[in-house]
C-alpha cells in the first residue's frame, strides 16, 4: 500500500468512526458524552507515549538504515532478534495502537513479521502491573502465566510469519 493510499484510508476510517458516533448518538444520546470523556481520559494518560514514539521515530530515521534493521531484526536476526522483540514488547508502555506507526516504519525497513507479532504479544506482560495481577490472582499464577506467555509469543510469532510470508510469496 502506498503512503498516500494509507493516509486516505486513515481519513476514511476516521470518517466511518464519526458516522458510528452519530448513529450511536441518535440511538443512545447519553452514551456520547461519557465516551468523549473516556477519550479525553485516554489522551491525558497517554499523551507522553505520543512524544516517546515521535522521538523513537526521529532517532530511527536519523541513525538506523535498512541494512541495520535487516541485520538485527531481519531474516538472519536469530535468537537476538526474538529476544529484542520480547523485551521490547514487555518494556513498551501505552495502548497497543500507539506503537503501530513505529512498527510500520520498522516493517518497511525489513523487520520480520514474526518479531512484530511477538512484540505485540508480549505487550500483555506489563512489569508495572504485575503487583496488581499478583494481588488479584496470586504469585504462582502470575509467574506461570508470564513464563507461558513469553514462550508462546515466540511460537505464535513463528506461526504468524510462516502464514503471512507464505501468502505473500
Amino acid at each position: 500500500m502506498r503512503k498516500s493510499e494509507a493516509s486516505k484510508i486513515g481519513w476514511w476510517f476516521l470518517l466511518i468512526v464519526v458516522v458510528i458516533y452519530i448513529i450511536a448518538g441518535i440511538i443512545k444520546p447519553d452514551a456520547i458524552m461519557p465516551s468523549l470523556q473516556f477519550l479525553w481520559d485516554i489522551f491525558v494518560r497517554i499523551w507522553w507515549v505520543f512524544l516517546l514514539v515521535f522521538g523513537l521515530l526521529s532517532v530511527l530515521n536519523y541513525y538506523v538504515q535498512p541494512k541495520h534493521v535487516y541485520k538485527y531484526l531481519g531474516k538472519s536476526s536469530g535468537i537476538k532478534g526474538w529476544a529484542m522483540a520480547v523485551i521490547g514488547g514487555i518494556i513498551s508502555t501505552g495502548p497497543i495502537y500507539m506503537w503501530y506507526p513505529l512498527l510500520n516504519e520498522l516493517q518497511k525497513h525489513g523487520t520480520r513479521n514474526g518479531l512484530i507479532s511477538a512484540f505485540l504479544y508480549t505487550r500483555a506482560i506489563k512489569p508495572a502491573l504485575l503487583p496488581l495481577l499478583i494481588l488479584y490472582f496470586g504469585l504462582t499464577y502470575t509467574i506461570i502465566l508470564t513464563v507461558v506467555m513469553i514462550i508462546m509469543s515466540v511460537i505464535q510469532g513463528i506461526i504468524v510469519e510462516k502464514i503471512v510470508d507464505n501468502k505473500s510469496n
Partner: protein, 142 residues
C-alpha cells in the same frame, strides 16, 4: 554509523509518519471509548456457561472484543472468578484482552497490512485459549 538523513529531515519524516497515522489512532481511540461506554461491565458474567473449555473460548472472544487498560480486565476477571467462572476461562479472557484487538483491527490492518493483522489476531485468539489451558494445567499439577 552513517546517517541517511540530517537531524531536521529525520524529525520531519517522523512528524509526517505520525500525521499519516493520526486519523487511524484517533479513530481507534474513539472506538475503544465508545465500546467501553456501551458495554456494561456487569453484563459479562451472563455470557458464560460454566463449562471450562467452552467458557475459555467465550472468555477469549469477550476479551478480543473489549479493549482498554489491563487493570480493567483484572477487575472484571476477579469478578468472573467470584461468580464461579473457571480459571481457564478467566485466563483466556485476560490474555485475549491485551493480545487480540477487534476494535483496533482496522487501524492495525491499515498500518501493518491486512494479511498480517488478520493472521496475527486469529493466532492470538487461539493462543489465548492455549495459554489459558497450559497455565491452569501447570497450576493444577503444582
Amino acid at each position: 554509523m552513517l546517517a541517511e538523513n540530517t537531524p531536521k529531515q529525520a524529525v520531519f519524516k517522523a512528524a509526517k509518519a505520525i500525521w499519516r497515522s493520526f486519523p487511524i489512532l484517533l479513530g481507534a481511540m474513539l472506538l475503544v471509548a465508545l465500546a467501553n461506554t456501551l458495554i456494561p461491565k456487569a453484563a459479562y458474567g451472563y455470557l458464560f456457561f460454566k463449562n471450562a473449555i467452552l467458557d475459555s473460548f467465550i472468555g477469549s472472544a469477550v476479551g478480543s472484543v473489549l479493549a482498554g487498560n489491563p487493570i480493567t480486565s483484572y477487575i472484571i476477571g476477579g469478578e468472573l472468578l467470584a461468580q464461579g467462572i473457571s480459571m481457564t476461562a478467566v485466563t483466556a479472557f485476560l490474555v485475549a484482552w491485551v493480545t487480540v484487538g477487534i476494535v483496533q483491527l482496522p487501524a492495525e490492518s491499515i498500518l501493518l497490512g491486512k494479511r498480517f493483522a488478520i493472521t496475527r489476531n486469529i493466532a492470538a485468539f487461539l493462543f489465548s485459549v492455549i495459554v489459558a489451558i497450559i497455565t491452569t494445567a501447570i497450576m493444577g499439577a503444582l
